[in-house]
């Protein structure tokens, strides 16, 4: 442990607008000034205000202190502003601590005398802890404006276009022979009145012709390594040739899979899938006929037998029901558990559908199907009238029944999760770093996920997500530099046993084990030359500083720079 002989601590007492005045009186001031290593002790009414910050900077400058302790409220109040405080010459942003005597002393301990004693103990401990602090530097890494997009569906296309228009060179990788994905099946979007195929084809064309987009089709992902600013994906083309493509950030937009429902009666020709209906609407023109050429007069949509938590089916059913009523004069029934209208403008469309005569039937028990004279009889126990004490079993005779396909995680997801080191929950869709705050970010810094590989969603939502992920990438790459604090875990290779524990437990895949060290615990002499020993290494741009590896390391080779074991031990002292 370093000697604490040369510490010069500046202490600031924050009265928090009077909340702490009864504790921070003259006596306390004398007590603090008398503590070892304290060179100055200033007071302020409200240190977290802009004026307070200025006086903080002044105080630091005049006292020639090399570290600071703020006595006041919660550290969360001061930390952000203190680290941004440029006016503290020669003071490292991590060389400061906060003694929280407002929330944890003044407000929780009623009796004044006891509160004073406790406050003294807390302050004295923080001042001792301050002597253990070490400065933490900042580093920069160059980030070239290049991005990798995995997936050639509509999300990948949109993201690639957004990125390319922001002056970023994009390499678009797709397993398919051509870009376009599943969206090409759609004839209409619910929020766009006209046929969208020309618009969509134009998007595909733009991607193919864009000077900053390089499209690689029919490729297989074989490997992934690197860090923010230098990610490398190894791909294999159909001829078996391997190639490494580079990018500063990676955007995964690989989509989901569909499983058509053709079991039992659903295999009958009168049961069709939503994409088949889309195709019929697109090709059929004015007259809508079935395979035998008979006109179709009644269509039933069956929702929520599968995909009960996904709203794509509801949106598509309402959209197509409206079209069928308007252009083809069909009778349309929508049989569902719950219609999902939580989409932009969908509530209005739903009401319009009801006004135009689409009949919505709500069920609890799954409907039963039977064949009657070449038509389908859908028997459904309707529950909307149940609360009025009545219950009906409806029998809906229809020419066509649209039965939803099941949306399942792409079978590639497991491979992607393995290759990219992204956690894969039991459901099988790739996981966000944080469902509330970092939705399209993966656990690795610089890796983004959007679209169906996260969760199946309607097109307009997927497009918004594509833009969000693309703007996340742009935000990272636009500066050309990524600047970060070295408040991270650090591994001492001399103690490393290359046991891989840390790289397994790291939630952000920030640790690699590679031959880079002069010595590890196995090292012996006699290897001369360029020989390097295998040891774990933290990639500094990837580390979030959580410290999980530190406490997992069996040889205690890892230390957390901003919270060492010594500091933890000191904090728990009485």
């Amino acid at each position: 442990m370093r000697s604490s002989g040369d510490c010069r601590i500046a202490v600031f007492l924050d009265h928090c607008n009077g909340a702490l005045s009864h504790l921070l009186d003259e006596e306390m001031l004398r007590y603090i000034s008398g503590l070892p290593h304290v060179v100055s002790c200033d007071q302020d009414e409200n240190l977290s205000s802009p004026g307070g910050l200025e006086s903080l900077a002044d105080g630091l400058a005049k006292g020639q202190a090399d570290r600071a302790v703020i006595v006041g409220g919660s550290p969360t109040v001061y930390e952000g502003s203190f680290r941004r405080l440029e006016g503290a010459p020669g003071l490292n942003p991590y060389m400061f601590l906060v003694a929280n005597i407002r929330e944890q002393v003044a407000w929780t301990i009623r009796e004044r005398k006891r509160a004073r004693e406790k406050a003294r103990a807390v302050i004295a401990r923080k001042i001792r802890e301050a002597c253990l602090l070490n400065p933490i530097g900042r580093e920069k890494v160059k980030i070239p404006a290049e991005a990798l997009v995995v997936g050639g569906g509509i999300v990948g296309i949109r993201a690639a276009l957004v990125l390319a228009n922001a002056n970023i060179r994009v390499t678009l990788l797709t397993r398919a022979k051509n870009i376009g994905g599943k969206a090409i099946q759609l004839a209409h979007f619910y929020d766009r009145p006209d046929d969208v195929s020309p618009w969509f084809e134009k998007q595909v064309e733009r991607v193919k012709e864009h000077p900053r987009i390089d499209v690689k089709t029919s490729v297989e992902l074989k490997g992934f390594e690197g860090y923010l600013g230098d990610y490398r994906i190894t791909i294999r083309d159909p001829h078996g040739k391997r190639e490494v493509v580079r990018g500063s950030a990676v955007l995964l937009a690989s989509g989901y899979d569909v499983v058509p429902n053709t079991e039992g009666i659903f295999g009958h020709r009168c049961f069709i899938s939503p994409p088949r209906l889309e195709a019929m609407l697109r090709e059929g023109g004015e007259s809508l006929v079935d395979e035998k050429g008979n006109p179709i007069k009644a269509i039933t949509f069956i929702l929520d037998l599968v995909n009960e938590t996904i709203k794509i089916d509801s949106a598509n059913a309402i959209k197509n029901a409206l079209l069928l009523r308007k252009d083809h004069d069909c009778r349309v029934y929508v049989v569902c558990r719950d219609v999902k209208v939580s989409l932009d403008g969908m509530e209005r469309e739903y009401r319009r559908a009801r006004e135009m005569g689409v009949i919505f039937v709500k069920y609890d028990d799954p409907p039963r199907f039977s064949l009657v004279n070449g038509q389908i009889n859908v028997e459904v126990r309707e529950v909307a009238t149940r609360m009025m004490g009545e219950e009906y079993t409806l029998s809906i005779i229809s020419d066509l029944v649209v039965i939803s396909e099941k949306f399942v995680p792409s079978k590639d997801n497991a491979m992607l999760a393995g290759v990219f080191g992204i956690p894969l929950p039991t459901e099988g869709f790739l996981m966000d770093d944080n469902p509330q705050f970092a939705e399209v970010r993966a656990n690795r810094r610089g890796v983004f996920i959007a679209g169906g590989c996260r969760y199946p969603q309607t097109l307009d939502e997927a497009l918004v997500e594509a833009e969000a992920a693309a703007s996340g990438v742009t935000q990272l790459l636009s500066q050309g530099l990524y600047e970060y604090d070295l408040a991270i875990a650090e591994i001492d290779p001399a103690k490393c046993a290359a046991c891989l524990t840390c790289s397994r437990v790291c939630p952000h895949s920030a640790i690699v084990v590679e031959p880079h060290a002069e010595k590890n615990i196995y090292s012996t002499g006699g290897y001369g030359g360029d020989f390097k020993w295998r040891a774990a290494r933290v990639m500094p741009t990837q580390c979030y500083g959580c410290g999980i590896c530190v406490s997992s390391c069996p040889t205690k080779a890892i230390s957390l720079k901003h919270l060492t074991d010594a500091e933890i031990l000191l904090q728990m002292e009485a």
Binding site: S74, P75, T76, N100, R102, E103, Q104, V105, A106, W107, T108, I109, R110, R114, A115, E117, K118, P423, N434, N443, V505, P507, H508, Y544, G545, C546, G547, I548, V550, S551, S552, L560, H562, L563, D565, I568, L569, Q571, M572, E573, A574
Partner: protein
């Protein structure tokens, strides 16, 4: 036994427990003054050694405040600490310490009342258990 005031070391995850502790203060709930709060960036930072050291250094009880399961910012930090607590419970039984002296509490940032309740309950429990024999 009237004067015995158990010392509690509370490890608080910066993402949930520490904010909840602050909130307990903001709500004005009184807490025992023998409570020492240790702020860690993630509950996964807390080593088995830290828990044992706390007991060795004279704490009568150790509380660990972590995020709810499947809600950890670092994905597995709260599960890692749960596993370590199980391990330390084994050690504690072997050396003749009550398991109840070490406990995990999962909470969210807005659970100030739960934080205070847990601390107060533990305080009363530890009063019943008596001073730690380690001291």
């Amino acid at each position: 036994m009237e004067s015995f005031s158990p010392r509690i070391v509370a490890f608080c995850c910066d993402k949930s427990g520490y904010v909840a502790a602050d909130m307990a203060g903001k709500l004005g709930i009184s807490l025992p003054e023998t409570l020492e709060i240790v702020r860690v960036p993630c509950a996964g930072r807390i080593d088995a050694l830290h828990m044992l050291r706390a007991l060795e250094n004279g704490a009568d009880g150790v509380l660990i405040f972590a995020c709810h399961e499947e809600n950890c910012q670092s994905l597995t930090g709260n599960l890692m600490v749960k596993a370590r607590i199980g391990y330390v419970h084994g050690i504690m039984e072997n050396i003749g310490l009550e398991r109840d002296r070490l406990e995990l509490c999962n909470l969210a940032t807005n659970n100030g009342a739960k934080f205070a309740e847990t601390v107060q309950r533990k305080y009363e429990d530890l009063k019943g258990l008596g001073p730690s024999p380690v001291k």
